[in-house]
């Protein structure tokens, strides 16, 4: 297919405005989300549980630095058949149903409002306002199946699929400007739509596993199989074999 020569005013009046619009809408979305964000209430028990699990994990990983007796004492505290923490403590678990739990419902609605709605509105407006001509050519060849998707409003059968219309340029911008947002707004900003869409797909990705009992059980199993191999068994020999030169070099200042 021959090269098309596009009017340079397309560049000024279409390409750049779409970039600007996408960018500004993204920034506005970020600030609106921050304004609408509700405070996250932290539960004391949840914090406490997460710290206990952390401690047990540290015991497993770094237990070799403390004496054998201390390690066994702690292991017994956690894992003992009757009085161990993981055996004794059962937390009441209320499964958080997204339909009935009010706080999660409002959060979801807010998320939808601030992200999906502008995208649809602006996408539609751009489609209506900038229709009937191609904007740009993507640098890689595309198959014909992309034509109805990327060339809305242009009914030319022989046009290369690489020539795209304004709507596709808009969507390209939405995902492409993500790194610009992190440059300007810092990491973890609310204008990052793709991340939000990922979150919606994975479902309830809340802070702690909603079932602490399961977490306790898996931690109990992991702790059962750990053995204590004291790291300080031969520490003096190691120290003296290595240190004779080291000491001198280090004090040499």
């Amino acid at each position: 297919m021959a090269e098309l020569l596009l009017d340079s005013s397309i560049r000024i009046w279409v390409v750049l405005p779409i970039v600007l619009i996408t960018f500004c809408v993204g920034i506005i979305r970020h600030y609106v989300t921050q304004l609408l964000q509700s405070d996250k209430k932290v539960d004391l028990e949840q914090v406490s549980d997460s710290q206990v699990l952390l401690r047990s994990r540290i015991l497993r990983e770094n237990g070799k630095y403390i004496p054998k007796q201390s390690f066994n004492m702690r292991k017994q505290y956690f894992n003992d058949a009757e009085t161990g923490f993981f055996k004794k403590v059962k937390r009441k678990v209320t499964p958080k149903n997204p339909m009935t739990d009010t706080s999660m419902l409002t959060d979801m609605m807010k998320g939808n409002l601030t992200n999906v709605l502008p995208m649809i509105v602006i996408g539609g407006w751009i489609n209506w306002a900038f229709s009937g001509f191609v904007i740009t050519k993507v640098p890689f060849p595309l198959t014909l199946r992309f034509k109805p998707m990327l060339q809305r409003g242009i009914e030319l059968l022989s046009l290369d699929a690489s020539w795209v219309s304004s709507a596709s340029w808009y969507f390209l911008n939405v995902f492409g400007l993500r790194s610009m947002y992190s440059l300007i707004l810092g990491q973890d900003n609310a204008a990052d739509q793709s991340r939000i869409m990922q979150d919606q797909m994975t479902g309830a990705a809340m802070a702690m596993p909603p079932d602490p009992n399961k977490a306790f059980k898996s931690e109990w199993e992991a702790l059962e199989i750990v053995e204590h191999k004291w790291a300080l068994e031969n520490v003096e020999e190691e120290l003296m074999s290595r240190d004779l030169n080291f000491c001198e070099l280090v004090l040499h200042d």
Binding site: S48, L54, Y65
Partner: protein, 309 residues
């Protein structure tokens, strides 16, 4: 009185960066912070922008340390002439963040500094009512008990706190200090073990643990202490205290009548190695100074005297 910027010839940006560095490293050089911070607040408040709030907090805590009550909170409105621009730290913070718990905690700290412990305690209780997970308020309450000298109660409260917040290393360290003051070395050792597990590469915790074990006494504990002194040395070759500790624990074990010959020989070997290292360290350190010979001789004599006893 020359201002800091004139004395050290620094610009206000450098002063601000210095304050930030002290803040991030958790330095407690309160006098310096007060000097630098006071000048920044008085002269360059407008240029600081939003940084000024955290600087207010930092300077206020430092001012409480130096009992600069005028800076932390102006008590009388008498000095109207100069204090019109000189808003004081707590007032400014209260004005800007009226409902904030962080500011409430600072108000409580000020009450503590004035020794009004009851009022401070009430203040912290009100913070905890709003937010039961606020660790800062709980810790301040415990430090009130410590300041009043009620160490048994402080220990009890700290234990309860740690039951809920097992991961708070600062609290474990504080508890170990309290136990050491009460001469309860077994429990202090437990706290230090927690710290060692979470920070396996920190030679200071190893060394402190070894010292506690050494103080507890008994053959097993001496062996443990020797091992942990050696570990501290392995982690940091320049830890002189650990080197001395290694020497003392090894020579104590060697001098004890209950050990068999092999153990005795091994410990004598460790002790002599430690002596050599100590001597060498003092010789290297004092190179070129006149006092060198005296200090080296003093160390040698000291080591001999310990061996004899």
């Amino acid at each position: 009185m020359a201002s800091v910027s004139e004395m050290y010839d620094v610009t206000w940006e450098e002063m601000r960066d210095k304050l930030r560095k002290w803040r991030e490293d958790n330095h407690r050089n309160s006098e310096q912070i007060v000097d630098v911070g006071e000048e920044l607040i008085n002269e360059h408040a407008s240029k600081l922008g939003d940084d000024i709030w955290i600087i207010y907090e930092q300077v206020m805590i430092a001012a409480l340390d130096c009992s600069r009550d005028d800076l932390a909170w102006v008590s009388s409105p008498s000095d109207m002439s100069s204090s019109s621009e000189q808003g004081t730290c707590l007032q400014e913070l209260k004005r800007q963040f009226p409902g904030s718990q962080r500011v409430k905690r600072l108000a409580g700290m000020r009450l503590e500094a004035l020794e009004k412990y009851e009022d401070a305690s009430k203040q912290y209780d009100s913070i905890l009512q709003d937010d039961p997970t606020n660790t800062a308020a709980r810790k301040r309450k415990i430090s009130i008990l410590k300041a009043q000298g009620k160490s048994a109660e402080a220990i009890r409260e700290l234990n309860e706190y740690l039951e809920q917040f097992v991961g708070d290393q600062e609290a474990w360290h504080e508890l170990s200090e309290l136990y050491i003051n009460e001469h309860d070395y077994g429990k202090a050792a437990f706290c230090l073990e927690e710290l060692m597990m979470t920070n396996p590469h920190n030679h200071l915790y190893c060394e402190q643990y070894a010292e506690v074990k050494y103080t507890q006494g008994g053959l097993e504990n001496l062996e443990l202490s020797r091992k942990y002194f050696a570990q501290a040395l392995k982690l940091n070759n320049r830890n002189m205290r650990a080197l001395f500790g290694l020497y003392m624990s090894a020579s104590h074990i060697a001098a004890s009548p209950k050990v068999n010959a092999t153990v005795k020989k091994a410990n004598v070997k460790y002790a002599t190695w430690a002596t050599n290292q100590i001597n060498r360290a003092y010789q290297l350190a004092g190179r070129g100074t006149k006092e060198n010979k005296c200090s080296v001789k003093a160390v040698e004599e000291m080591l001999e005297s310990i061996t004899m006893s």
